[in-house]
Structure formats: structure tokens, C-alpha cells
Symmetry: C2
Subunit: 440 residues, 2 copies
């Protein structure tokens, strides 16, 4: 009997929203009342193995339906195609979707279309890792250097990093991979916590949560800043007193400032030794970040959670505009574009400290940092993955933090799979959680 190839049978999309604005968790200077949400994608096949690919694009509430529509627009690129052909060459699959000749007008390579490509690609990676029986970080870390560079779209990157340079970098990291994988499994990957520092929290709550973070083993915490300078100076003082001199305190302005304002504000916070200033201004402002960096030294400059694509990251690195690159699992075009960014950061000697939190971002992005440690930069020096203590209960394999470090996940897949019950419960607007709120 001839072998019948398996095919993708569905790209299901769900609009899932959590009413986080009812508390002030997640509040910052630009996001006063977010409802953390997921435009959630499921790839199904007719393979009898029953595996599905799950991933999501994160949003903050309104517009999650627009994001979901963008994911649905990619259905013709996947449904009906052969599973092994697509999963066997995710570099080609990525390029097809990113360069879709009509959809690209809506970006190009930015906004909901880029995030939609990211959701579909990340779902494909989840499926591929499950079929291989591996957590995604290990699946990526065991690829040959040639297989890794084949994932990357070098269009627009070659003035900063060629394929040959990326390949050389991966080959240099090859000898130590097994040893670093063992280290990672034993020690876990360093984390920092944003849980104490939301803008809506009282000083008492900030102080208590900061002390708890240190007791839990974290060596870095983060404070949201940017709404009111007097408040920020006071909160920074409270936080510094609570954690002592040896714990790093990063601050995060969520894009609130103009260049001059950023510099003035950071000079006022300088006495409390902020470790980095995150998103001081527009994520599109490469030159602005470079100016701020020169002016606030030795405080470091970090950005990336809203950086739309590898071309903007390229320029941040070319210009030396940032000390810390902050990738996000769901902002760019998925694992493939994040691999390009990890390679460029390593090529320029800049550490990557991912943005996380939201819905499932910790669960997904930890895999990329672990892959970076094992197979790309080969280092966790000055590298930390953000951790926020929200909404993990909705995930099939929630992150595990111990002693301020992420335990390496062992569950096969990419980490983004939610419980079916959570999806059903929080579907917008027809899930019971939202119907109950509408009735009140």
C-alpha cells in the first residue's frame, strides 16, 4: 500500500482575553489598563499521531480580533499542504509567509501581519518539536549549524551579518554544546522578576514584593517608571533600600519619553543605581536610543519587545545603540526571525535578555534563551529572562522557577499550549467569563 502523505487540515484561531484590567497587575506608563489577551492558533493534521501545533500572538485586549483575523489570513499558506514538507523546511515556509506578495503591503514585516506569521510559525515549531519528542530549546540546540542558518532570512541583513559569518559563529559554539546542556539541566537559566514593580502598586506592596523576590533568589528586579518623576524617585529609593546594593534594579519606561526627557529622568534616578533603562523612547528610534545610551552611561539601555523586525534590531546593533537586546517570542515572525536576531546579537557581542510576561510569553521565550546558551552565544553572563507571575495556570506546561532561575522545560513542544478549558472559559466575547461580565 502506498504511503499517503499527511496534510494540515486546519488552522484554528481563538480570541482569548483575560480581564487583567480589573486589578492593576500589568499597569505601566503606556499600558494603564491592559486585558492580557491571546490570538491563539492551533495547527491540526490528519496524522494518526494526533499531535497539534499551538502558539499565540499576545495583545493587550482591544484589537485581539484584528490580530486573529490576520492569523486567519494565512490559512491558505498552510491548510492542505503536506506536513513533512512544511516542517522539514521551516526556513522556506517562513520566507513564503513573510514575503506573501499581497499581505506584505500591510506591514511590510511589522504589526499584526508579522505577529500572525510568528503565531503560525511558532505553532509549526511546536508541532515539529512534539513530533520529535523534544522541548523546543533542545530540538533547536541539536540542529547542525547549516540547518540553523537555513532557518534565517538574510534579506536586508548582509551588511551586518552574512550567512558565512553566522555559520562560523555557530561552529565555534559547537564543541561546548553537550557540556552547556548538562549545566542548563542542572542549574536552570537565570531570571529576573517584574512582579514587584508595576506602576499601580503602593510603596508598601513594592517593598514587600521586592524583599520576597530577593528571598526567592532573584538577583535582578524591575520597576515600571515614566508616569511621574517624584513618584519614581521615591519608589526607586524604596526598592533600593529593600533589595540592598548587590541586587540589580532595572527600570522600564515603556516608550514614554522623548530623547531629552529620558536623559533628564535617568539622571534623577542615577543615585539609586538603575541597572538598565528599558524602552526609554519609541522602539523605532534607533538614533534616539544611541543618544540616550551615550548620555546615561553607566546605566545600560535595553529595548526590543516592540521592535518590529530583524532590520531594526540590525541597526540597534550596528550603531551600538543598546547594551541589551530584548527579544519577544510573539512580536516578530516567530522562531525563525528570533534565531536571526540571536545570531546578530551574538555576532555583535551584545547579550539578549528576553521580554516576557503577558500571556504565555515566559513559557515560549525561555526556549530561545536556552537555545542561545547551548548553541549560539554559549554564555549566560549578564543574561536573564524576564519573569512575571501572571496567568501561568492556563498553560499545559507552565514555567518552573527555582532559586531565581528557569528550570529547563522537558515537555515536548514550544511551551505555548493552553488548557482547552482556559480557552473555552475566556473566549471573547462568548466564553462564560465574558458573558458573566457582560451580564453584570
Amino acid at each position: 500500500m502506498p504511503h499517503t502523505p499527511t496534510r494540515f487540515t486546519a488552522l484554528e484561531v481563538h480570541d482569548v482575553r483575560f480581564p487583567t484590567s480589573e486589578h492593576l497587575d500589568g499597569s505601566d506608563a503606556m499600558n494603564p489598563e491592559p486585558d492580557y489577551s491571546a490570538a491563539y492558533a492551533v495547527l491540526r493534521t490528519d496524522d494518526p499521531d494526533g499531535h497539534e501545533g499551538h502558539a499565540l500572538a499576545f495583545t493587550t485586549g482591544r484589537g485581539n480580533d484584528v490580530q486573529a483575523a490576520a492569523i486567519r489570513a494565512l490559512e491558505p499558506w498552510v491548510v492542505g499542504r503536506r506536513v513533512e514538507e512544511v516542517l522539514g523546511d521551516l526556513g522556506a515556509f517562513s520566507k513564503e509567509m513573510v514575503h506573501e506578495p499581497q499581505l506584505r503591503w500591510l506591514g511590510p514585516e511589522k504589526g499584526v501581519v508579522q505577529m500572525a506569521v510568528g503565531a503560525v510559525l511558532n505553532a509549526a515549531w511546536d508541532l515539529r518539536a512534539k513530533r520529535a519528542g523534544q522541548p523546543l530549546w533542545r530540538h533547536l540546540a541539536h540542529l547542525d549549524p547549516e540547518e540553523v542558518v537555513d532557518l534565517v532570512d538574510f534579506r536586508w541583513l548582509t551588511d551586518a551579518m552574512t550567512r558565512a559569518e553566522a555559520l562560523a559563529l555557530l561552529r565555534r559554539a559547537q564543541p561546548g554544546r553537550a557540556e552547556r546542556e548538562a549545566q542548563l539541566l542542572e542549574l536552570g537559566y537565570p531570571a529576573y522578576t517584574t512582579t514587584p514593580g508595576w506602576l499601580g502598586y503602593s510603596d508598601d506592596k513594592l517593598e514587600r514584593l521586592a524583599r520576597e523576590a530577593v528571598a526567592d533568589g532573584f538577583t535582578q528586579i524591575k520597576l515600571k517608571v515614566g508616569a511621574d518623576l517624584t513618584d519614581d524617585v521615591r519608589r526607586m529609593k524604596v526598592a533600593r533600600a529593600a533589595v540592598g546594593e548587590d541586587v540589580r534594579i532595572a527600570v522600564d519606561a515603556n516608550q514614554r519619553w522623548d530623547v531629552g526627557q529620558a536623559v533628564a529622568w535617568m539622571h534623577a534616578l542615577a543615585p539609586y543605581d538603575p541597572y538598565w533603562i528599558e524602552e526609554p523612547t519609541s522602539p523605532d528610534d534607533v538614533l534616539g536610543h544611541a543618544s540616550i545610551r551615550r548620555a546615561v552611561h553607566p546605566t545600560k539601555v535595553a529595548t526590543g519587545e516592540h521592535v518590529a523586525n530583524r532590520v531594526v534590531f540590525k541597526q540597534l546593533l550596528q550603531l551600538g545603540a543598546v547594551d541589551v537586546v530584548q527579544i519577544d517570542a510573539a512580536r516578530v515572525a516567530g522562531v525563525n526571525e528570533n534565531v536571526a536576531i540571536l545570531l546578530m546579537a551574538a555576532h555583535h557581542g551584545v547579550p539578549v535578555c528576553p521580554h516576557a510576561g503577558g500571556v504565555g510569553l515566559c513559557e515560549m521565550v525561555q526556549h530561545l534563551s536556552m537555545f542561545d546558551f547551548v548553541a549560539v552565544s554559549g554564555s549566560w553572563q549578564d543574561r536573564v529572562v524576564e519573569h512575571v507571575d501572571h496567568l501561568h495556570e492556563h498553560f499545559v506546561a507552565p514555567v518552573r522557577l527555582e532559586g531565581g532561575r528557569y528550570r529547563a522545560p522537558l515537555t515536548p513542544g514550544g511551551g505555548g499550549q493552553m488548557h482547552a478549558a482556559s480557552i473555552a472559559d475566556f473566549r471573547f466575547p462568548d466564553g462564560p467569563q465574558w458573558r458573566a461580565r457582560a451580564a453584570r
Copy 2:
């Protein structure tokens, strides 16, 4: 009887697509088969004057539904609000929508959400100009300098241009406004034509159309390039022979190249004296444009139709990365953001030559260049608005070209209003034009 304030009663959105891919009009190196489309917005009020605001976001086919969904997401910001309050302070209205605290996550300030804000704002401007009985260019040109700067969101711009600097610039242009308005009405605004140069056209068609363009009075034409170097050199030679030495030939690569490729390709075309190279690489690559500009001098570098917002334009100007700024009526957040870009370009002494074509882009963007001439830069030296001979028949007040110049429109409004019959005919997927195609 007390005065009852009028209110916005509806934001109607239509998915309108034209099957332009059936011919090769509009074909270029990145857009091989576009179906020129409009996510079309209509603002209605309960004012007995019966005026409506019309505008559109342009797309190239697939994804027009996603763009339409993004426009619909703005409905709560307009329907039910007082017409005079909104139209009386479009600066405030613009900021509310651009900074919508949940929707902004989908950008920020880029992609379908930014274009949706642009469509709603442009519809509001269309309504305001109709109520004033003026074409938009004249309505804008008659505002006081203070009213103009109140339209602009200076967030993230102040390191390049302050409100005071913008105001000073507008005041310097004030004395000559009446004289320039008279000149504009008499002579029209300079145009160039892309009609001869589509990539899908034969050499014979290119030659014939290039000659016709010169006979029609155009002093600049444009060729699409970037797919094949040998073809481009041959086509450039054909075009140069057809138009002679005194007519400018711009070339447009539609983002096709990496930095090094762009330089090599332009060196090969240099013997035929290209006037500008448009979109040589990623529209996000400010540093890349600066490198290319240094290498291809005296050919000029132009970009902007895909530049997402004023922050990227700011950097292009700060770095001297472009010789020509190409605004687009429907890419950024509407008239307001384009006013910011016109002001920054004038402040940096760089000419603005708008992108047009598509669906209704000529009809809309001509108003911005005419406003620039009368009230901002005060000059049309080396300034031309693109003209493409497509789809004008669907507009209530189509552009009028005479002797290679745009006649100043006199019909009240912003130019983006389509005939109701065209909207009905080409509605996707249910209009008769599309039903007939589906049946074949």
C-alpha cells in the same frame, strides 16, 4: 428651542478590490500581481447638511479584510461623539486614536492600526473640508500657524523639531501664501509619471509610453527595477533614448535589495543618469539608506511610501539618509501625521515628492503637496507628485492632469470619495464583479 448637537452616527467600512492582477499594470519587483484595493471608510452624522466623510486605506488585495477590521476597531472612538467637538480639534482626536492604550500594542504606530487611524482621520478631514466648502489643500493652507502645529503630535519628535521651530517655519511662510495660492491655481502642481515603467511591460510599450509622457508635458518619468540587472540596464537605455537627456528618469526597486546589492546595481545603471533610486532596501533601514546615499551620489535616494510613521522619517532626516521624502496619503496616521512629516522635511530642507497611484492615492495626496507649497515649504523646486493612470474613473472628483501638472482641485473635501456604484460593483467578495469572476 435648545440647539441639539449633531453626532457621528456611523463608521461604515467596505472591502473594495479591483482585479488589477489580470493585467500587469502595477507590477514591480516586490508586487508581482497586486489587486489594488481599498479598505474604504465612510463617516456619517445626523446633521441635516447630509455631508459624509470619505477616505480609504490602500492595500494590494489579500489582507484588505484585515485592514477593514482594523478600521472597524476604531468605531467606539467616533460613533456617538459630537461632530463639532471632534472636527474642531482633530489634533486631539488624532492623539486619542494613535495612543489608544490597548490597540497600540498591535503596532505601535505601524501597520494596519496606523493605516486605520489614517483612514478615519482622513475621513474626518474630508467631512470638515466639505462642511467648510473648501478643497482640503485650501482648507489647510488657510489655517493659522498655531492651528497647524496643534494638529501635530510632537511626542518623540522634539530632538529633531520642537513646536516652536515648527511654528517659526510656518510664520516665515505666511507672507507669501496668497501669491503662491494664485500661482498654484494658474499653473498647477508639478507631476511625474510612472505609467511607462511597470516591470511587466515590453520594451516597445515602455518606449511608446515614455515618448507619450514627454509629449504630454512630463519632465520626469519612473521605471521599476530590481528583478533582473540585464533587463534593467536594457530598459533604462530604451527609456533614456526615448525621453532624451533633459527629462529625469527615476528608478524604483520597491525594497528589493540589500545595501551592497543596491550600490552595485545603481553603479550599473549610472551611465543612463538615473535621477533618484526609490526604495532601494527595507523602508525600516535608516542606516542602510544613509550608506547607499553616500555610495550612489549624484543619484538621489528616495523613500517613504512604506515608512510607518513620523519617527522613522525623523531619523531619515536627522541622518541625512535621503534626498527626497515620499509621503503617502494612506500609510501613516492621516493628514495629521503627514503635516508633521511635511514640517520636519521643510525644517531639514528636504523636498517632499509624494508616492501616489494605487487606489485614490493621487486624489488624496495632491492636497498635501499643494498645502506644502502654499503654507509650509513655500516651494515646488524639485518637487513632484507621482501620477499613475489607474482607476481614477471610480472617484467622484478624479485628478486633472494638464501639461504634466496636477490642476488644483476645487471640489470641497479631501479627494478620497468613490462613486457609490464603484463600491457596490467591486465589493469583495460579494459585488457583481467578483461574483462573476468566482463563477468562471
